[in-house]
Subunit: 448 residues, 2 copies
Amino acid sequence: MTYRLANVTSTALLTDQYELTMISAALQAGTADRTCVFELFARRLPDGRRYGVVAGTERFLDALDEFRFGDDELAVLKEILDPDTVAWLADYRFTGDIDGYREGELYFPNSPILTVKGGFAEAVVLETVALSILNHDSAIASAAARMVSAAAGRTVIEMGTRRTHEQAAVAASRAAYLAGFTMTSNLEAHRTYGVPSGGTAAHAWTLSFATPDGSDEKAAFRAQIDRLGVGTTLLVDTYDITQGVKNAVEVAGPELGAVRIDSGDLGVIARQVREQLDSLGNPNTKIVVSGDLDEYAIASLRAEPVDSYGVGTSLVTGSGAPTAGMVYKLVEVDGIPVAKRSSHKESHGGEKRAVRAARGSGTITDEIIYWADTPRPDPDSIGLKGKVLTDLQIPLVRGGERVAGLPDLHDAREHLARGLVTLPWEGLGLSHGEPAITTRYVNEPTAR
Amino acid sequence: MTYRLANVTSTALLTDQYELTMISAALQAGTADRTCVFELFARRLPDGRRYGVVAGTERFLDALDEFRFGDDELAVLKEILDPDTVAWLADYRFTGDIDGYREGELYFPNSPILTVKGGFAEAVVLETVALSILNHDSAIASAAARMVSAAAGRTVIEMGTRRTHEQAAVAASRAAYLAGFTMTSNLEAHRTYGVPSGGTAAHAWTLSFATPDGSDEKAAFRAQIDRLGVGTTLLVDTYDITQGVKNAVEVAGPELGAVRIDSGDLGVIARQVREQLDSLGNPNTKIVVSGDLDEYAIASLRAEPVDSYGVGTSLVTGSGAPTAGMVYKLVEVDGIPVAKRSSHKESHGGEKRAVRAARGSGTITDEIIYWADTPRPDPDSIGLKGKVLTDLQIPLVRGGERVAGLPDLHDAREHLARGLVTLPWEGLGLSHGEPAITTRYVNEPTAR
């Protein structure tokens, strides 16, 4: 068996089988072309979170471009589906329209993050891949944004590749960069998305210089500097940290770029190392800390002399919320608003629009959701006198074609940075609580 | 931009940059070919877990086959690395040996799950991709095995694709099948790994039959049965469950295969639905439940008339432990045992072997780790009189070539099923506690 991703030339099987059995039944029933609107949204934020960050939209559009059933895919599906459905899939290409929140936009419960309009069959089949991508990438970006806020301007480096699926890691690195991380260790993310990458050495590097007579940390440091220059970062905690710092400065001199500490009580050690570096004549040598950091640990180090944080596990696992919990729901069929009425899973029928209200200062206060067949609300008429409303959805796909000039990863990163500033002050806190702003519906119709 | 995985023909950049800067420095320092042994292991199990399940070994070997730096990869690396290193990478292929636990083997803290032997440079560079794959797949398989145990013989269906990265989902489906899940919703896992797949319909299906006069659940059920036959599973909770069951039986008759319930208090509802089905003359119609199930929810439904469980979010996120936390550590250099001495991250130097001790009944009691340059311990001499020791490592790669006839996914699935039966009874419980057996070291040498 070869590594199978090498064979992936289509994203069409990244799909739950029931999407295709529904298409099959719809083709027979004559309902495959009913005009439908699906909305992708999160019913709630992860426990205690104040906001979410939309991420993955561009990756979804990339996946949509490759969402084609070629001969290889059809060969598999012939064993599951009837010939009519297989023939329909062979010709599949999405011909409808998609609108959505920008990547890097804040979202809140029920924000209509993506709206997919088209025939029932062509639109329902995108459910799985759209959710996979947005649920993953938004979970990572939402956690990452909190870490960046907690770092309060200090550098945050993504180094979580080894703690998650090898391809998820690439997307996680992208999402972290979107959310304001400075760089990544992940080379594929650097190649694919242009995320700045970096890296120097692991504990294995220092250990690899062991001799029959014992360890030789200085030889390891010297060899690293010989190749990477004194501006490199030396990992000083393989053996004894105090000795490690001493060795590092002896070998590198006053121009040593940084030391990294990957274990122990990072706050205490950072202070000791800072004093030691200063006393050895290395006031400009920076301190990088890593090792099981999350947004809370980052914040707790705010008063310590730490220059950069390396974040791994907690980033790629969404810091307790590894999925954003978004759903993809049919809300309208041939102009009729529809909604499930299962307990605890009610949704709101009908195609919706969303605007966000802000004070003159820029601070946001409300998200307003209204129905696409009703006029954009006037702030005065909904108790938001003097506030500015901003539209949240942009056209992404028209007639199956991606709209030209959509925001890219760098735009998304800037958009989020601007968006975070608009949160009410408590919304940027790490403490658990309610969403930073409330979402309100205006003029809801009755769903069937 | 196209969906970038379509362009992946190499796994070599699924790697942290520091692996390559270490190679660069080692080439210059003359240490690149020092004979090294790296071990991959977990320092501990996720909080309260009694055992872990090794998964991902075959995927790692697949990735190793494609771990080559081609022109596309080298073009990126030329901007980061010196020409000597780029030239070395152009010729890269792993030439060493790899041993490891079988896929589907149980593991415990410090079990040497994978042992990679080769030159420093050729072996260190595999760290990231080995860890990504094993950390992800083992986390999913470990959670999945608990769910299968909790289901106590009932069918468990993997339907978590939409809740995780689109490619991680494929691996998660594979890991779930390895751990005993019955089938998956994921078509790519069916294609790539031959995991049995299934699926019928979503709430959107029923909603799509809405008319201007209201919903028409019966029309939806009728259309589904027309295509998929009366043996299909009808989703009965889009509107009112009692009415949904009534409609389902009216339309499908006594041969209806199953009904699915995706919301509400599943235990109470399953009982009501069972009674209703029986009273309507459908004693053979099965009940499938889904909706935020984890191993605890599955266990809590053990006394209820549930035939199948559909599991999504908790499976693909490892049920609270989305990564296995495994590390890849240099343990030996030119025959010298080496170990980091950082606080809380001590490791044991030297290449190791592992055996598991079992009573005559088959129940396992201890895992014994000994050093590769010492003889396999005699049970009598280590207080295990009368117990049987089984070797845990098998050769996976020799001289860079994959060993022929390695266990496949189906073998791994069977191996785990046999292995779970050997756990002490408390080890199969869901309650938090210590690892089911203890790991002991015999005759440890002193590391440098």
